[in-house]
Subunit: 664 residues, 2 copies
């Protein structure tokens, strides 16, 4: 593909079949094939260029995104792409746009909460993009606390309409993506008021802009909420503000799958169970976990390749210096992130299965697994997004000074990724939800209630509360059973300790609140266990291809043991392992780093990312970093002229001591 | 000052004298007074406006910075500001500019490495800004490894000149701030070559641009290296690339305080000790520690105030919701950062003293403390900048979605701050230097060598290696002696364990390299001990003012105990404390959070930051967040028109299904 390959010597070292690993990473040959095709389609089309993003003004940036979104849709239609292909194509375009919310939130909300007639009407339009929709939930004053939203939807029995209204400044919708400048419609969440009675928050389909001239409809004020973190990053998105002044919509635009308002203004529940709504949430969060593995693997790919290119110190007799990837500190920061990328990939894959499973159960009116599934997805969303955001920034630092340049791709990747820690549930708030579920589960221990899914391990509470680890050698730490037992015991003991401490408080609510920092840690321990155990499941299953299993075992070990090291206090204070065993774990970890080292570049090649998608000079496939960095620098607008704009007004008078009379 | 004060109820709760704390924070009444005056001077002058930074193009942004720098200099001259005042004024202008490098690196380099005649000539020009200088050390291929720089300075005895040359692409100077577009001169680091012999890297004063027309001099190629992390952030700085094609400078432009080249081309050492050079390094790193406390306190100020304004969940009977600062998870994330800001402030103050002390000693030809001082400043630079970068981002997350807006000030603060982890020594590389010093110190234990300064505790190795903590109650954890003993024992035991493991390796270098991840942790433990012990020194000294001591004690406890919690594995595995004592520490920590809570807003008011300096709507002194956020949003250029640029070309054809014929 490339002419020179500065990383060829690294690729030759690999001890496994990279092509086979690409399939494992993608999930299936089919998934690989679709991703591969779509990513090349995007990369080879100059219309999808993105290397100029950092220097565009907000308006140029935004306009360019509108162009790309339209062009992508045109291609999707022309090529008759399947839904799967289209979504991959949008993914590889790699630029937040209103289409993300249209396809990712607006349509799923209608699907999940709308009636069949509503599907018929609105989804038909939406699928063809004859309308563009966004998801307008958050307000200036309320995000996490959805039940506290202030926008009202008051039923007017005279006209058979709802009156949508923003009674306060803080009730202004604030943040919805695609709202600010593009969406024609929105699913608006508002308090349903009938006859003066407040029935809580419900969803309504509201047309925002005229389909003729795009002007906001009467009574509607909309704008963009301004610049966000980073240069390009999320600024390609028109997160918006929206106020309603008594805007009327027909009654049938309330999403009525679960609850309905009749012509007479009666509020009734349909026979569709409310729990169905959770299905959407599980779906959305599962995509977030899968996005986490993409974002993290992308950063890791850049950092691994550049760490193999970059040499610093350690030259002997004028020979080449040491590749920084050979420094043990570099490895101990980088390889756990490489392992996490794989771990999140596999747990994301499992979540996809879980979503299908729960959907089937819901359709069969079986709700028993729902709380567990809900806690599990909430927790994994929190865990993987936090680790990914931190991991991207660590990868940036691992690239030294050059990682601070936009041309490294990493600053913008961080800036565009990091809101994932906040949207779809603030990560701390989510951990507390998991903790609540854990406390409930712990309180039922011994009651004979069957524990399922990711809580099944708690069934063995008696053993896990008192067991001591039998690890005797560094080698033992490779055995899944030892790892699992340590993680299970730690998670359970932390949860049980919290429950005990809560029971000492005047009342459970007060106790929960006082101990919430500890509870969040217990929730993290539970979630880490899930990721570890799904990674172990993966390597215990069928994996074809030369050397793949060995590599994945090493990565799984690195993932688990680096967590053990990081959270050592918890493992030791709960008596799950001894200091001696911890030292053995560290020893094993070092040997696993050495094992992964010669395979590192091949392990990131397995992500199969194009240079276009990576968008990073440091992460180029061919490792030809320095000439390209140099070339790129000259493209900055500041280099348009040798003497900068402002020299004559502001620099020369200063040098010549003539500031007194200068106009500044 | 302000008309409404939404935070008045918080301020009324404070249990200490805020005005007195302002003095303690500033370091002295004089320092407070200067800072206060300069910050108001900047804040009240519309020429220093900075709220529009996020939407300017690179060129506009840069030009505006040139204007501000010139205007600041004009004011400095007009008002005959002292050096101290001038430097504060530049600080509060709060925009990276070429002047930072001119005053902060170019002048100190000449001061530290130049002869008296060189001072006479160059400093005179530089102090008046008749020349503008930068610090050109780093190259495309070498940053951390300064000894590996490739630029050459070859002595030509015929003409009595040095020929400065860039022999390779990777020898291009890359990163120097102020270089790209502004500097007329640079201190250039290059390999000194005499008669074919390489004498290693030395500094040279090189004129880069004509003082007449600002064009690069013959043989010199200069440009800007392009966009960096963030919007405004560090993009106001012209970090540059520079290549020399056999550029000649007179012999007397080599910085010759320590080594000289004679007219005959002889390389001679002056009688000035080489160690003097370290003085500059200590000076620069001390300012970085003090900047860390500024940046962190600024982020904490925003997050504390906004957490007191923001309410979410927990409304009872329609009353107001809970202030998010009352959630224990919020406190456990936020208050350790508040405590760290104070801790870094005090350790920075102490470093200032240390710098003066070492300078005096150097002048008296006393070098014995130098290795310890060097390790200590390197370590503290690494520790405080890492914690500050992470802390700023945590503060941003603590503000939920709104923290992601540039108008919160936090994204840009992070982007502009974070390179401090990389420049002036990559933080990992620095920790390894500290570790090397620690290993040397450990190897001398028992040799009778007197240990001084921050290593004095190792003198008590025998006790610290086997002591067990006597903590019996949560209350005990407030006693400085218990805290110190635990931190000393942990630091020493980690260092000794590393030394033992190194000694098992085939050779010390190999051992050091294999264990370097553990060594970096040992270095962190040593540095945390320094910060803790300086905080304790501070509260054990004189502190006037109602309630101040109580607050600082609480913060000191929070700083130490939150570290103990975070690194619990190290305290437990080395047997410094027991799990039971760890639980008591956690209990104490919770009660300290409760103690600080009513004082939190006052504790950030004590930083005395103006709203201009904070640059954050969420952190406004008056807490009037929502109306101002709303107002600010409309200023985005995207809101110039209701229908966005690009609608007619890219949105309408899509909605109308007319993409096939659209030009995209
Ligand atoms: C880039 C981006 C895109 C978005 N897109 C959309 C969109 O398309 N549509 C939409 O409707 N919204 C959107 N949002 C809004 C997003 O969903 C909210 O920001 C998110 O739900 C967090 O809520 P918040 O901002 O109110 O945070 P807050 O709840 O105000 O959080 C502030 C702090 O309080 C803490 N906290 C809050 N409650 C508790 C509690 N009970 N216990 C302990 N701690 C607590 C949090 O942990 C956090 O530290 C978007 C946001 C962003 C940043
Ligand atoms: C905003 C900014 C401003 C700057 N301003 C200036 C300026 O004015 N003048 C100037 O001369 N320079 C400047 N620099 C350059 C800066 O000093 C260097 O970037 C810095 O010294 C780090 O070196 P590096 O980039 O070569 O990192 P590298 O050394 O390449 O680091 C890459 C990775 O390798 C690791 N590594 C390297 N060596 C070792 C080792 N021996 N052991 C273990 N790990 C190792 C590092 O930890 C890091 O993870 C600036 C940089 C930035 C980002
Ligand atoms: Ca004792």
């Amino acid at each position: 593909m490339e002419e020179v390959d500065h990383l060829a010597h690294e690729r030759n070292k690999a001890q496994f079949d990279v092509e086979a690993m690409k399939i494992v990473w993608a999930g299936s040959r089919h998934a690989f094939e679709v991703s591969d095709r779509m990513s090349r389609l995007v990369a080879s089309d100059p219309a999808f260029r993105k290397d100029n993003r950092a220097t565009l003004s907000r308006k140029e940036l935004f306009k360019n995104t509108l162009r790309k979104a339209a062009y992508a849709w045109k291609r999707i239609v022309e090529l008759r792409l399947s839904e799967e292909e289209a979504s991959k194509l949008r993914f590889f375009v790699d630029e937040p746009a209103y289409t993300d919310l249209h396809w990712g939130m607006f349509i799923p909300a209608i699907k999940g909460q709308g009636t069949d007639e509503q599907h018929q009407k609105w989804l038909t339009l939406a699928y063809k993009m004859q309308i563009i929709g966004c998801y307008a939930q958050t307000e200036l004053g309320h995000g996490s606390n959805v039940q506290g939203l202030e926008t009202t939807a008051t039923f007017d029995p005279k006209s058979d309409e709802f009156i949508i209204h923003s009674p306060t400044l803080t009730s202004s919708k604030w943040w919805p993506g695609g709202l600010g400048k593009v969406s024609t419609h929105a699913v608006v969440y508002a308090r349903l008021i009938i006859d003066g009675r407040d029935h809580g928050v419900h969803g309504f389909i509201v047309q925002l802009r005229s389909l003729d001239d795009h002007l906001p409809l009467p009574g509607i004020t909309i704008g963009d909420i301004g610049m966000k973190f980073g240069n390009g990053a999320y600024n390609t998105m028109d997160n918006g503000v929206l106020q309603f002044n008594h805007v009327r919509i027909p009654r049938n635009q309330m999403l009525m799958r679960v609850s309905q308002v009749t012509r007479e203004g009666k509020y009734v529940q349909s026979d569709v169970p409310r729990q169905l709504v959770y299905g959407t949430m599980v779906y959305v969060r599962q995509t977030i976990v899968s996005d986490a593995s993409c974002a993290l693997s992308r950063a890791v790919c850049v950092a691994v390749r550049y760490s193999a290119v970059r040499r610093q110190f350690g030259s002997q007799d004028g020979g080449p210096e040491t590749q920084v990837i050979d420094y043990k500190t570099q490895q101990s920061r980088l390889f756990p992130l490489l392992a996490s990328a794989y771990a999140f990939r596999f747990v994301g894959e499992w979540l996809k299965w879980l979503y299908m499973d729960v959907t089937k159960r819901l359709q069969a009116n079986e709700f028993s697994t729902l709380p567990e599934v809900h806690a599990c997805t909430a927790g994994l969303k929190s865990l993987t997004t936090t680790a990914t955001a931190d991991g991207i920034e660590e990868c940036r630092k691992l690239c030294g000074g050059h990682g601070y340049l936009c041309s490294s791709g990493l600053p913008e990747l961080f800036a565009v990724y990091v809101p994932a820690c906040t949207y779809e549930g603030d990560n701390t708030v989510l951990l507390l939800q998991v903790a609540r579920f854990l406390m409930k589960t712990v309180s039922q221990l011994g009651s004979g209630k069957q524990l399922v899914g990711t809580t099944a391990y708690m069934q063995r509470a008696e053993h896990l509360m008192q067991c001591t680890s039998d690890v005797r050698s560094a080698e033992d730490w490779l055995k899944p059973s030892f790892i699992l037992e340590a993680f299970e015991a730690r998670a359970l003991r932390l949860a049980v300790a919290c429950a005990k401490n809560i029971s000492k408080a005047p009342n459970p609510e007060e106790g929960f609140s006082q101990l919430s920092a500890d509870l969040a840690e217990a929730a993290v321990a539970h979630c880490q266990l899930i990721v570890v155990s799904k990674f172990i499941d993966k390597i215990q299953g069928d994996i074809d291809g030369m050397g793949l299993k060995e590599q994945l075992q090493a990565l799984c070990g690195i993932y688990a043991l680096s967590l053990l090291h990081k959270h050592l206090g918890e493992f030791l204070s709960t008596g799950c392992i001894t200091p001696k065993q911890a030292a053995l774990a560290n020893e094993k970890l070092r040997s696993l780093y050495a094992k992964v080292r010669p395979n590192a570049v091949a392990l990131v090649d397995a992500f199969n990312y194009t240079d276009h998608f990576l968008g990073s000079i440091l992460g180029r496939y061919d490792g030809n970093v320095y000439p390209k960095l140099y070339e790129e620098a000259w493209k900055d607008p500041l280099n348009d002229s040798v003497v900068p704009d402002g020299y004559h007004e502001y620099v020369r008078p200063l040098l010549k001591q003539q500031l007194r009379t200068a106009k500044l």
